[in-house]
């Protein structure tokens, strides 16, 4: 009996899907996918028809960029006592509507933990909030001041501000010459009266949340050129790398994973370019595959991503982080192997309409929020050096289409005196398959061994067969059989043709008079061959 049990167990192991096997590695990431979430995010409505429609997205982006895990629920779905399970609650109030969930109201009034309240202040919901002096202004162009950085010219339809002097508050809203605190804290309550999905407000809120979570003070800004494919303009990639390298600008290249045709010379050339980028102080970041292009099956995605990353490492390309929209962080962690094995990532702007309902997120160990060059352009710094936004940010700029665009981008970066951090200096790590990769200011190490990023061009096979002929069984037998049968059939056709030619003579001789045979080529009716009974 035991013998059969062993066979059963062996079979079980053989047929288990890959994620279970890989799951051992995923276990190392338990800290990032813990079932205990850092914060409960409660929103009243998505407010899709208003300027606040993307607010939930923006807060979710911030949380993932701050590497915070969250549980998200709407007020309607809120159940009594849930709030008390969390030490931190964010309440996003996108509308001025009354709240009808009595359990929620009751819990709010009795909640003893830390809370950030964003948006419309509903009377009676949070007792402490009723004492905040709030004024309302319509149609204003405002600036958001984050310590030394000011993001200007933000149009806002309805501005609610805490009507008091900012005092020592680092983050303020500037309306003309007046300044208001971006947020006000009273005991365990922090109130942000106005929030819209605009870089100034998002980054300012990010700073508030970072302090609220008591996260590390130091922040970094990195630079990412996203969406690089094997069929991107690789010459421009090289040119951009050279230009950034010459300007001393550390940058990262976001590579879209390709899991098909990875043995093709085009792919080898692509890897060669990526190695070259690394040699120009570029860092390789891997994008999360588009959900539209991969199967929903986590097993398929895992297998493909393992293959992609293993192949990259084999070819001397070392991805150090993940670039993804925040929607990734709502997926089941077990479905994301090995994407969740990266320690760091860049959260790209996500414009998709948020989905309602309850959901949970996981987080990378460290993240940064993607911002655009336009945001940099709209930001003025009180010092020569640009400095940093309150949270980790990544400047996302598209691959320049031409040299003029490249020059413009370089000019902007240089003129702004941006202080960009080399991504690989940010203590990144991952273990995928047989490889453990770490990076720090001292460089990249694979399985503990330092690797050289010096570019070494390798010959690429030119006579590669892009479309390999399909492999057939019994090919030799069929090829020989085909030739044999062709010969036999050919011979039979010759014999048949000879019979037909011969039979033509027999036919004419039998059915036609000899005289007519020479005059016309038509068989003539021979009365002797035709019976009376013949129809």
């Amino acid at each position: 009996m035991k013998r059969y049990m062993i066979i059963f167990v062996a079979l079980f192991l053989m047929v288990r899907p890959m994620p279970v096997v890989y799951g051992m590695e995923a276990a190392t990431q338990q800290n990032s996918s813990s079932s205990v979430k850092d914060v409960l995010l409660i929103y009243d409505q998505l407010a899709l028809d208003t300027v606040y429609r993307n607010n939930l997205n923006a807060v979710e982006n911030l949380l993932t960029a701050l590497s915070r895990t969250a549980e998200i629920t709407s007020i309607d779905e809120y159940s009594s006592g849930r709030m008390s399970d969390y030490q931190k609650v964010i309440l996003l109030k996108n509308t001025d509507n009354r709240v009808s969930n009595l359990a929620f109201i009751n819990d709010c009034q009795n909640y003893a933990g830390a809370m950030v309240y964003i948006g419309f202040a509903t009377a009676g919901l949070i007792p402490a909030l009723d004492n905040f002096p709030i004024s309302r202004q319509l149609g204003r162009t405002v600036s958001v001041n984050m310590n030394q950085l000011v993001i200007n010219s933000i149009w806002i339809d309805e501005l609610r501000v805490i009507d008091e002097l900012p005092g020592s508050t680092k983050t303020t809203i500037l309306v003309g010459t007046a300044a208001y605190p971006f947020a006000k804290s009273l005991e365990k309550l922090t109130y942000v009266p106005t929030f819209i999905d605009s870089p100034g407000f998002v980054l300012a809120l990010g700073g508030i949340l970072k302090d609220w979570f008591v996260l590390e003070k130091s922040v970094d800004m990195t630079l990412l050129i996203p969406n690089i494919y094997p069929f991107s303009d690789l010459n421009m990639v090289i040119e951009t790398s050279d230009a950034f390298y010459a300007s001393g600008i550390p940058f990262a290249l976001g590579v879209v994973p390709i899991d098909d045709n990875i043995d093709f010379p085009a792919m080898a050339r692509f890897y060669q370019v990526l190695r070259y980028v690394q040699s120009r102080n570029g860092t390789i970041i891997v994008h999360r595959p588009s959900p539209d292009t991969v199967s929903d099956s986590g097993t398929v995605l895992s297998k493909k991503m393992y293959a992609v990353i293993t192949k990259m490492v084999e070819n001397g390309v070392y991805p150090l982080g993940l670039a993804t929209a925040k929607s990734l962080f709502f997926d089941d962690v077990s479905r994301l192997n090995p994407l969740n094995l990266f320690s760091s990532g860049i959260i790209l702007p996500d414009d998709e309409i948020p989905e309602g309902g309850s959901k949970e997120t996981w987080a990378l160990h460290s993240g940064s929020l993607g911002i655009s060059l336009e945001t940099i352009g709209n930001t003025s710094s009180s010092t020569r050096n640009f400095g940093n936004y309150p949270i980790n940010t990544t400047l996302v700029i598209p691959l320049p289409e031409n040299q003029a665009t490249l020059a413009a981008q370089l000019e902007m970066i240089n003129n702004k005196w941006l202080s960009l951090t080399d991504y690989k200096a940010l203590n990144n790590y991952w273990t995928i398959g047989q490889n453990t990769l770490t990076s720090s200011a001292s460089g990249i190490r694979v399985n503990g061994l330092p690797i050289s990023l010096i570019f070494d061009e390798e010959p690429i096979e030119d006579d590669y067969l892009y479309q390999k002929p399909p492999e057939y069984s019994l090919e030799k037998i069929f090829t020989a059989g085909n030739a044999f049968l062709l010969s036999v059939v050919g011979l039979i056709i010759v014999v048949f043709s000879m019979i037909v030619i011969f039979s033509r003579r027999v036919y004419l001789k039998k059915f036609r008079k000899v005289v007519n045979n020479e005059k016309k080529n038509e068989p003539e009716k021979n009365p002797h061959d035709q019976e009376e009974n013949t129809p």
Partner: protein
């Protein structure tokens, strides 16, 4: 290689093997044709044997007069043959028409047996058994009710049978008298000619084997006596009786100069029903006699049984299975890894088919034409494919009848004016 590869391999072997068997038969058939052309048919020396011609007829009023007239006009001494028309439970005016002929030929041996639904109406075999009760001839000839035999048809058949004691039966050739009606009758004309020159003449030339075609044949009375008449369960009574003749140690010879002209189906529905009956009949005979494949005493019919087995089961299965696998492969439902043969080979095989069939047509007056060459090519993609459907349906119907324990119904081929 997977299971589909092995299936395809078996199919390829079967299809090509059977193709080559038929190619050999084509050549042998043509050789026999040349031989027959050189030789004169034997003459009857001494007294002409008395022949009973039996014509089973069920509602054959449209054609029966012409058939009996042709039989009365045979080039054979009138007192040495009798015509027995079994008017089998007809509901049309056959009885009146036959009475008129009888009355106008008072000095001829023309017997008309009218049966009703109690004594008759049970199919061709039953009708033949009824006719046989009154037959006096030492030789029995059978003609279908739509036949117009040529004058010398009977004398050629009788002379062959009389000249060779080893022969149990002699079969003649049948031609399509309505071949000009439409494309279907042209197809059938080509089909019947090629079948006779390939399967009948070819087998006779190589193995002294033929199969009684159901009409225009003659056989010894002693054979019918020995086998106890026709098997009334057999829908294809001709194939059945052929096997019985071989088992008795006789041969069946093909005499192509004994010609009869018969009317073939002019519509696809009639054709489909007639051919379904043939298939069911042949499957019945095949299953009934399959044991002879391993019977030491049945060497002579082994090839015939194998030939039927090949046609109705092996080739059919091979074609259907390979078609199904091909379609499923195209749909991505199954995958095969065997290389298969080149398109050139399949094309040459097609050319070979067309030429092979055309050879059979060169034996007949007016048939060696360019139009027929193209009709053969057209047959390959239409008529031949229809045969697959008919065979599948026939085999299916046969087994359905067996499961339901129903006797196969004898479908009488519908006749047409003309």
């Amino acid at each position: 290689m997977n299971v589909f590869d092995y299936l395809m391999l078996i199919n390829i072997f079967l299809i090509w093997s059977l193709l080559f068997v038929n190619i050999v038969l084509i050549v042998a058939g043509y050789v026999y044709y040349l031989k027959v052309e050189k030789e004169q048919p034997p003459e009857i020396i001494g007294e002409y044997p008395f022949v009973s011609i039996m014509v089973p007829a069920h509602n054959e009023g449209v054609v029966i007069v012409k058939t009996v007239a042709a039989l009365l006009a045979l080039d054979y001494p009138g007192d040495r043959y009798e015509i027995i028309v079994i008017n089998d439970n007809s509901s049309d005016n056959s009885a009146e028409l036959l009475k008129e002929i009888q009355d106008s030929n008072p000095n001829r041996n023309l017997i008309v047996i009218n049966t009703d639904k109690i004594s008759g109406g049970k199919g061709k075999s039953n009708a033949l058994n009824i006719g046989y009760q009154q037959a006096k001839g030492e030789f029995i000839a059978i003609y279908d009710a739509d036949n117009t035999p040529e004058h010398k048809a009977l004398i050629y058949l009788a002379a062959e049978l009389k000249a060779d004691d080893s022969l149990g039966a002699v079969i003649g050739k049948f031609r399509t008298r309505n071949k000009e009606v439409n494309l279907l009758t042209r197809f059938i004309n080509i089909e019947t000619l090629s079948f006779q020159w390939m399967a009948q003449a070819g087998r006779w030339q190589l193995m002294k084997l033929c199969t009684i075609p159901g009409t225009n044949f003659i056989l010894r009375r002693t054979i019918i006596e020995a086998i106890g008449g026709w098997d009334e369960k057999a829908v294809a009574e001709d194939t059945e009786i052929s096997f019985r003749i071989y088992l008795m140690g006789y041969k069946i010879k093909f005499q192509p100069k004994a010609v009869t002209w018969e009317q073939e189906p002019q519509t696809w529905s009639v054709w489909f029903r007639q051919r379904t009956r043939w298939v069911k009949g042949n499957v019945y005979v095949l299953i009934k006699n399959i044991g002879y494949l391993v019977d030491k005493d049945a060497k002579k019919i082994r090839f015939d049984i194998f030939y039927f087995l090949s046609t109705y089961f092996l080739l059919l299965t091979a074609l259907v299975v390979s078609d199904v696998i091909f379609v499923m492969n195209m749909a991505g439902l199954v995958s095969t890894s065997i290389q298969g043969f080149s398109n050139l080979l399949w094309f040459t095989a097609f050319v070979m088919f067309v030429l092979g069939v055309f050879i059979a047509l060169t034996t007949e007056k007016g048939e060696m034409s360019v139009s027929n060459f193209f009709i053969i090519a057209l047959m390959y993609v239409s008529y031949c494919q229809m045969w697959i459907i008919v065979t599948v349906y026939g085999v299916f119907s046969y087994f359905k009848d067996r499961i339901k324990k129903q006797d196969s119904k004898w479908y009488k081929t519908e006749r047409f004016q003309g």
